[in-house]
Structures are given as C-alpha cells and as structure tokens.
Assembly symmetry: D2
Homo-oligomer: 234 residues x 4
C-alpha cells in the first residue's frame, strides 16, 4: 500500500482498455478531469501504456493509472512495461491482475511491493470474496471486485448484488485502510446509484461509456449519479 | 511486409529494452537522430511503449519502433499494447518475437499481417538459420538474426560468425526484398566493422551502449564504424 | 524429422483432447488399434499425458502421440512434460503447436530438434499456408494443417477447401518427405471422402467422434471411408 | 480443502520434478512407500504426469500427487492436464502454484475448488508470509512454504529460518485445519532435524535426494530423522 496515496469516497474508475487510444482517449480524459472538479470526485483513468504520459500531462486531478506493469528490474525485458518507466510518465498508480491480464500470486505480490517502493498506488482485481481476501493480504491501496461473469454485461440486476457488503466487511476486517471498488456490468447512471446504495464507496465503467453514442454524456450522468447518491445516503 | 517502408543499408538498431526510459531514453534518441543525419544511416530505436510518442515527436529521421504489440482487435485487452495505439504514437514499426518476448507462430503471423494493414514496418527476431527461414515465410520487412546465446555477451569473436552469409543467402532466396539485421553481442565499433565485413548490411546494439560510461560516445563510434566500413567494402 | 518414423498414406489422427480420459480413452484406443489392422491404415492417437503409458501398452499398431511436450532439459520443471518421460511411456511421437497449446517459434524449433534426438516423431500444427511453409522450415515429420476457424465446426463444405492442394504442393517443394495431414471440422465419413478426393493423404477428427452417440461406429465409418476413397482414387 | 483427506504430522514431500521419470521414478516411489510403513510417516510423492498411474498402482500408502493440473472443463484442451484425468490415475492430490509453474490467483482459486469437488487434495506453494496468508484464504489442504531463493540451494542455515513459526501461526489463525509444509533447500537429515525443531510439522526434498549418489539412502536418512526428531520434540 502506497502510503502517500489519498483517494476519497465516492470515487470512480474509467477503463479505456483497448477501445480508446490516442486522441479519443485524451479527449475523454480531459472531460473526466473536468468532472473531477465539477462533482468533487476522484476518478481513476487507465489508458493504454502508450498514452499515459500525454494524458497525465493534460489533466490535473484525474488519477492516471497504467493498465499493467511487469515486475522486472531495470535491465533486460523487451516488450515489458517497466515500473519505473510508468512512474516517469506522471502516472499515479497501476491496475493489476485484471481478468484480461492475470498475474501469478507471486508476481502480484512483487508488483505491489515494487509499486509501494517507487511511488505508485495499486488497484488490484479480485473475482470473488475468496480472491478479495487473498488480495487484501498483499495490501494494495484498492481492491477492485469484479465477478468476471458480469464484466461487460448489459448491467441490470445490480441491486441484487448482495456480495458488495460481504466483501466490504471482509476487507475491512483484514485492513480498514484498503479501499474497495465494485465494478463489472455497470451500464447506466441507475446502476451507479444501485451500487452506492448497496454500500459501495466506489464503482467504475468501461464498455457502457466507450461504446455509448455520446461517451461524455454517459460518463457525466454516471459521475453525477455517484455524487448525488453518495450525498443522499452517507 | 509493409510496402511503404524504406530503409537503406547500412542501418542499425538501438534497443533501450528496460535499461533506459523517460528522459534518458529521450536524450539518447535525440543524439541517435543527429547521427542519422551526420552519417546518413537509418537507425531503428525501440523504446519502452510509454516513451514512444515522446520520442517520435522529438526526432525527425530516427525510425521509432515499439518493442512489441499484441495482435488483438480494438475492444477488450487490459494491459495489452494495441497495434492502432502504437501507430497513433507516430511509431514507424514494431519489433516482434524477441528472445525476451516470444510469440507463438500464429500470433506472429497475425501481428505481421496486422502491421502491414495499419502501416507499421516489422522487425522480427530469429535465433538461427531454421527460424530465420521460417520467419521469412511470414514476410516481415526485416529479419533480426540473433543467436540467443550471444545476446548481451561481451562480444568478441564476431569475425568467426560464418552464419551471417548463410542466413543472408537463405533469406534472399525466399524473398530478396526482406532485409536482414545481424545482432547479438555487438560490444564495440570493432565488432560493428567485423559484422559489416562478414557481409551484414545492418547490425545493432543494446547493452554495450546503454551500459557504457558514455553511451553517446559509444553509439557514435559504432555508427561511424558502420558508415566507414560499409563505404570501404561495398 | 525423426528418420526412423514410417507412416503410410492414407493415415488418420484421432485426438481425445480433454474429452476422453482413463477407461474411455483406453477403450476407444483399443478399437482404433483394431481398425488399423482391419483397414490397413495408420492411426495417430493423442491421449492426455496421464494415459500415454496405459494406451501404448494396450495397443500394437496404433501410433500413440503425446498432446504436447516441454522442451526442457532433465532437471527442474515442475508441472512440465519432459520429452524423455514421454518417450519412456512407449509413445511414438508428439503433437506440437496445436491452436489450444501454441508454442513460440523458438520453442517449437527446439522441441522438434529434441524429438528427433530422443526418437519421437513430430506432428506440428499450422493455421494456413504461410504457417505451413514456416513450420516446414523446421522439418517436422508431419504438418497438421488446421484453419482454426474450422476446428470443431460442424463440418460441411469440405469439398470447397481448395487450400488443400496449395499447401500440399508448397510443402512438397520445401521437402517432399514431410507428410501433410488436413484436419479441422471433419464431421462424417462423407467429409473424410471429400478430403481425400481433394488431394489429402491424411485427415483426422476429434469432436465428431468423441461426441457421437456411438464413437466406435463413427470412427469405424471414417476409417473405412478413408481406405475406400484412397483405393478408389490413387 | 478436500474434506476426506487425512495426513498426519510429521509428513514429507518428495518431488521428482523433471529429474526422475519412468523406471527410476517408480523405483524411488516403491522405496518411499516402504518408508511410509517403516517409520509410520505420510509421504507425498509428485511424479511427472505420465507416471502417475503406474506409481499409484505400485504403491499402497504413498500419497501420489500430480505436479500441476489445468482447471479446464472436460472438452477442448490439447496439451492440458485435465483434473478428472488426474483423479482417474489413482492420484490422491495435486501440487499447485510451484515457483516453476505459477498460476494466476483466479486459476489457483478455481483449481482448488475443482480439486475439492472431484476428490483431490491440494498442496499449494507460497513464497513468503504474505503469499502464505493469501493462499490460506483459498483454503487448500496444505500450504507449501518455499522461499524461492532457497529452492535447490545447498541447504545449511536451516536453523536460522525464523519465518517457520511466524507462518505456522499466521495460517493457524486463518484456519487451523490447513497444514503447513516448510521446504526449500533441505539438503540432509540434519536439515530435516533443524526444520522440525524450528516448529515445522512437515518438510520435503527434491534435489538432495534425486541427485544423491544413493537416492534411497539419502531419502531413508531424511525420513528416519523426521520421525526421530518429531518423537523427541512433540
């Protein structure tokens, strides 16, 4: 856990994955940055590695995170993403162990230790309660709980996700300073509201934003819903 | 093979691997770019993915190549390097199948086809004669022949590498428009001279440059040797 | 290419994959062995690694091949399949680079060299013409041409696969002693006939046999069709 | 955690890795089986997948475990090790996540759940305290604690491994029914004694047995030391 990293609930993660890159990823990031100020929420934004520096330079409050890094030492490693090289782009953190980029338990542990040492916050994916507890033992800054069966789903039924409180409580018992973000299948502002009402302090979205007819509008509605529901319920 | 890609012998590849990143990688790139003009040689430079855009923007003649790309479609793919995202940085090509980042035969074939389609030149590694011939069947722009046992070696004994002509001739028989770069264990300007005298039209270096007390001087001596030996022997 | 390996057209491959194991894989192998004699055809059978020894011991003419092997030296390697350990089971060869178990070009080259050295024949998968030519450069005993889009397909349309002769001719130009097996989507005896009429000297089947209501009958019909069509057309 | 699995301290693990296979692996297993009776200790033996059935059939009390399995469903999966196929060999369990065969956290969780469901005990590797606690969250039967830097080491200094009690206590707090085996760098009977005196209830050895001039003698001395030290200290 990076000690210097501060993020305040409610917060949000937007993941361009390999949907957006270059100018389109930059444009969306600039709008997201504006929303951070407008609604006073922290937003984590995870662009393609090649876009990290450009987006970090063009935004102020947005928390730019890498999608992955390889826990190799400085030296050999063609085709890798060196942690120090990520840090030097101005990125504030790194996403690790996403369902689309699994890491072994040992690599994950070492990557978190390395991130702590060089000054990157860690957002680590877990599929379910057992994995969330296992990940918490490695002390990341944030656990990202995403049941893989729900990733990219059409959303709906968010209000029945009773695992949200169970995971929150389990993580809090292990270390209350670890934050928990509940993602997967968030398709609308209504889903964001449902997630916050369920007890989540953070959520996020990829496909329903990047594939929307108007991504900025979709994103804006979600961030607005996040802030309003949080204020109404906490 | 990207049709629009033009590179003229003698040429050179400098691979920062995960040794150099950020400012140091940029500084070396700018010096390399200057050497392209000074000695009228093409230099391929393969920085970390996060540094591609910055280096492409700061150089004119340097051929900036990615170290790897993942042959995925636009869409999912957290932690991947999307080909289109590489292209959008201003990179001119991509290194594929390095000993530190092997690709399956199928992925390699698809990556070359994708690079051709979106406008990236391909520099594809092969360990020996059999692999060089196999790679040539996939029609890259350049085959990079590097016996893995010699990568990062102290150099020396370059003059005894009689495989250089054998590989050149085998590739020429398959497709004379495929260029061949002979690397691995090039430790000095003297090694560059030996390689060109052996019949290579291109060579390259990583560790002996990035780990030299004065990398710019080491690089400059090699590029000068490349040009002089080429002019003296061809 | 293992020099001592002899296989005569027409031949066939049956791949239990991870569908069949233990007693069911043994039972089917024993029936396949009987068909080898009955129709005088060579059949390659590729069971799970754990079943190799049992099946090799219970059959006489069946060519038992491993589904994969790891090209590691004797020593470390937990979870690997050591080539020497495969050989010691009585297996006659090894399947390499299947779409479900890709290998890097370098690993594939080394695995073929190792198989040659310890006495295992090699059956190496290729997706298309370019890959088939690349694989042929590594000199396996047999190239298994399987367009991945057709693997496990319902069959049908086999008669329109005009790539069969193209690949056969390309391989023959590289090395006429390399055999070529054309698989993928062979769903019935009729598909076997179509494949042989197209010019194939060998074909194979997995799902249409292992998922048939009566696998032995399905297999028998295919082997009978193989022999009859071969005799009628060659 | 497989409920039906019973193992009693002190116990031991012998890992032939890819050092031993076929007849030599069988011979050592038969001797190990004899030692189980002679010293009334449980011994886990992890041969190459191809040797599982033969060794399970030739031994009585020896706990034969696979070195790995792939958590795939019955169906596709060439080159995989299907869990059901492992079970059908007579194996009693499976080693997972060894430093030589890492698994992603998600694959590891699913493999443990699958092993529980089909009746295989699980022995899961962890590098250090943090990983051991993470693995314990997934509820395996046994955690195998092996600092990778010590694997294959010449042994020595075992008595200074103060992490042994720390890990034991941490696991016991999570679930006292999880057993803990402390391995890595056990080079002699003296090392076995030191490990048991440190508080371990189980240890194991690979290289110092398989590479000994007389493996059976080396193994016998270790098992004798295990039993005697246990009886003298518990």
């Amino acid at each position: 856990m990076l000690k210097d990293f501060r993020i305040r609930p409610p917060f949000f993660e937007i993941g361009p994955k390999a949907y957006l890159y270059g100018q389109a990823a930059l444009d969306l990031a600039i709008e997201a940055d504006r929303l951070c100020e407008l609604y006073d929420v922290d937003i984590i934004y995870t662009p393609q590695a090649v876009d990290l520096r450009m987006i970090a330079a063009a935004t102020r409050r947005l928390l730019v995170f890498a999608q992955h890094m390889d826990c190799i030492p400085i030296g050999k490693g063609i085709g890798s993403t060196l942690p120090e090289a990520v840090k030097a782009t101005g990125a504030k953190g790194v996403l690790l162990n996403h369902a689309e980029r699994r890491m072994s338990l040992g690599d994950l542990r070492r990557a978190i230790e390395r991130a702590d040492a060089i000054g990157l916050a860690t957002l680590v994916c877990a599929d379910d309660l057992a994995e969330a507890r296992a990940v918490a033992m490695l002390r990341p800054n944030i656990v990202l709980a995403e049941p893989p069966g729900l990733i990219g789903s059409a959303g709906g039924g968010v209000e029945s996700r009773d695992y949200v409180r169970t995971i929150n409580e389990a993580i809090a018992r292990i270390d209350p300073s670890i934050r928990v973000l509940h993602g997967a299948g968030i398709g609308s502002a209504e889903d964001v509201r449902a997630m916050i009402r369920l007890g989540a302090e953070a959520t996020g979205c990829t496909s329903a934003i990047v594939r929307a007819p108007d991504p900025v509008r979709s994103m804006t509605e979600m961030i607005k819903a996040l802030r309003e529901t949080w204020d109404a319920t906490r």
